[in-house]
């Protein structure tokens, strides 16, 4: 009696949680027909925003991968004084309100910022450019990649890297042929998360880069701007992004599953959760 009550309460709570998470997404689609979704794809505001979002996101992710991967590997494989501090630092943008990040970026790279005048002197102006969007996105999204990358590198068996060394491979060959392939699943998962976070970026972008259609107005900014003008269009645009997010998550999950099963022989459909 007491027992079944407890089990019931617990399943009920779980279902309530799922329903709460599902409802807003269902609501978006309930309010916007497929026809409207398609129609939005010819709205220049939407297409421009899509282009800006994709371009800056791809560049930002490139930046994140190129700088974040060595940083993550360093933090995962070496212990040095200040290590804990560095890890904290890497995670800080994750817990920083995006508006604060935007302020910080302005204070650092803005006209009167710490580096602003030096940059200006060499002819580089960042605010209001697409580069500013890229930087804002990279700043805000990087912890998601770096965290996951650190975890992925830490999870790769140190014995395997040692084995590679004893088989005559130097550090570079060991990294590219053993460590990287083994960490790949985690890196891809991290990249997908950071990509998603980047697409959703709002606060830091509007502060640091402004919002100009075709240049700095990302999809998220466009949704915000359109909200004040045309709620139905906003719904349709949101629908597009929800679909995009779902595709991203599913790709991520399938990618991880494939990665895992091909490397360890144990297929799992629960890749993301259990690896993170």
């Amino acid at each position: 009696m007491r027992r079944s009550l407890l089990a019931f309460a617990y399943v009920a709570a779980a279902l309530l949680a799922l329903a709460f998470l599902l409802l807003p997404i269902l609501a978006i689609f309930a309010h916007s027909s497929p026809a409207r979704l398609v129609q939005q794809l010819s709205n220049p505001v939407v297409t421009d925003a899509l282009e800006v979002s994709l371009k800056t996101s791809v560049l930002a992710q490139l930046l994140i991968v190129l700088l974040g991967t060595p940083a993550a590997y360093l933090l995962a494989s070496r212990r040095f004084p200040g290590h804990a501090l560095a890890v904290t630092l890497v995670e800080l943008p994750l817990v920083l309100p995006p508006a604060v990040a935007g302020i910080g970026l302005l204070a650092a790279f803005g006209h009167f910022g710490l580096l602003g005048s030096s940059l200006h002197a060499v002819g580089i102006t960042l605010p209001f450019t697409q580069s500013a969007v890229t930087i804002a996105v990279a700043y805000v999204a990087s912890p998601l990649y770096i965290r996951q990358a650190i975890a992925a590198f830490e999870a790769t068996d140190a014995q395997l890297a040692a084995a590679s060394r004893t088989l005559g491979a130097g550090p570079a060959r060991t990294f590219f042929r053993v460590v990287l392939p083994l960490a790949r699943g985690g890196l891809i998962a991290g990249l997908a998360l950071s990509f998603a976070r980047g697409i959703g970026e709002f606060g830091a972008t509007i502060m640091f880069a402004g919002s100009l259609q075709g240049v700095t107005q990302t999809f998220s900014l466009a949704i915000y701007a359109e909200f004040a003008r045309n709620f139905d269009a906003t719904l349709a645009m949101s629908g597009v992004l929800v679909l995009f997010s779902i595709v991203l998550l599913v790709a991520l999950r399938i990618g991880l599953t494939w990665q895992r099963s091909s490397s360890t022989g144990s297929p799992s459909l629960f890749g993301l959760t259990s690896s993170s």
Partner: protein, 345 residues
């Protein structure tokens, strides 16, 4: 055959300092309890851990020399290391694993280790014995100057272990490079190596042939590690032999001279069992209830009071022993060895 030389290498570990010298000719097995530092020795030879001091060389090739600042990186020491859990690359096939160590001529090794039919398999799909063969093939594919094996049998079932051990023995006897292998099982060490070194807390206790260690264990640890009963008591020199009053009150004699607190080592096969008191008064006798009787093939292990005896199945049948009832365990004074007390961690 070349010789691997470790000269007073010192490695600082978590709770003690490893420090030892070792000369490996054909096959040497390092045995010791978990955490003794066995793996660390192999890692130092391989260049995966950097000793604080000492010298590691194979004949004229110096790999590490503390004072001279020589430290050849791991990838430039020609060693073959087989890891405890084999450390096969899970994302590569068997063939790719071997080709990682040797671009050309992997086929030879696939043939030689009878894994050619598995060349496309990934490590996760292999049995324990197959994994070991692949790991050996990969380690030897580099044509190393030295072969290092870390617990080559511990990842195996008790049941497959015997077969794989025989196979490994065959292989080692065909190699003409020094082999340093590590295990925590004295039986495995004795089965595979000519020389056995016992290591505890980073220090080498004793080195010798397996039978040498059994005949003359350096201390109580080596004695118990090689299978002896340990009897604790107080020794008093007597006219012909030393008399030892054991902690349970009984008195036994030993041929070894001793005085004060001692540990006596008695091997189970030097103990005989009787249901009647023996007539020979020169023998040591322990009269106590039978604690257990365990048959292992044709041998039977019988625990009587503080000692365990190993007798044949026929003897057991003759004796009609019953667990719980008293019996007599007897052994000669010359069958006991006084060994130094070892403070176990």
């Amino acid at each position: 055959m070349a010789t691997l030389l470790l000269d007073r290498i010192t490695v600082a570990l978590r709770s003690y300092e490893l420090e030892l010298s070792l000369e490996v000719g054909s096959t040497l097995a390092l045995v010791g309890p978990s955490g003794a530092g066995k793996t660390t020795v192999l890692r130092a030879v391989a260049g995966l851990v950097r000793p604080r001091a000492g010298r590691i060389a194979v004949d004229d090739d110096v790999w590490f020399d503390g004072p001279r600042g020589v430290d050849v990186p791991a990838e430039r020491r020609r060693i073959g290391l087989v890891f405890q859990e084999y450390a096969l690359f899970p994302h590569m096939t068997v063939r790719q694993n071997i080709e990682y160590a040797r671009k050309h001529g992997a086929d030879d090794y696939l043939e030689r280790f009878r894994i050619a039919h598995l060349e496309r398999a990934r490590p996760a799909q292999l049995s324990g014995g197959e994994k070991q063969r692949v790991a050996l093939a990969r380690a030897l594919a580099r044509e190393p100057q030295v072969l290092l094996l870390d617990e080559p049998l511990s990842a195996l079932d008790a049941h497959t272990k015997t077969a794989v051990r025989a196979e490994l023995h065959d292989l080692l006897s065909t190699l003409d490079i020094p082999v340093l292998l590590v295990t925590h099982d004295f039986e495995d060490a004795a089965a595979l190596a000519d020389t056995v070194g016992v290591i505890v807390d980073g220090k080498l206790r004793q080195t010798g042939t397996p039978s040498g260690l059994v005949a003359q264990p350096a201390d109580s640890f080596v004695a118990s590690f090689t299978g002896a009963n340990l009897l604790h008591g107080d020794a008093e020199p007597g006219p012909e032999s030393t008399r030892v009053r054991l902690d349970d009150g009984s008195v036994v004699a030993t041929a070894d001279p001793a005085h004060g607190r001692v540990v006596l080592a008695v091997y189970p096969w030097d103990v005989t069992v009787a249901s009647e008191p023996p007539h020979d008064s020169a023998l040591n006798v322990i009269h106590a209830p039978v604690r257990s009787i365990a048959e292992l093939g044709n041998r039977v292990r019988i625990a009587i009071g503080p000692v365990t005896a190993e007798i044949t199945a026929e003897s057991l049948r003759r004796l009609a022993l019953v667990a719980g009832r008293p019996a007599f365990a007897t052994f000669k004074a010359t069958g006991t060895r006084v060994v130094a007390e070892h403070e176990d961690r």
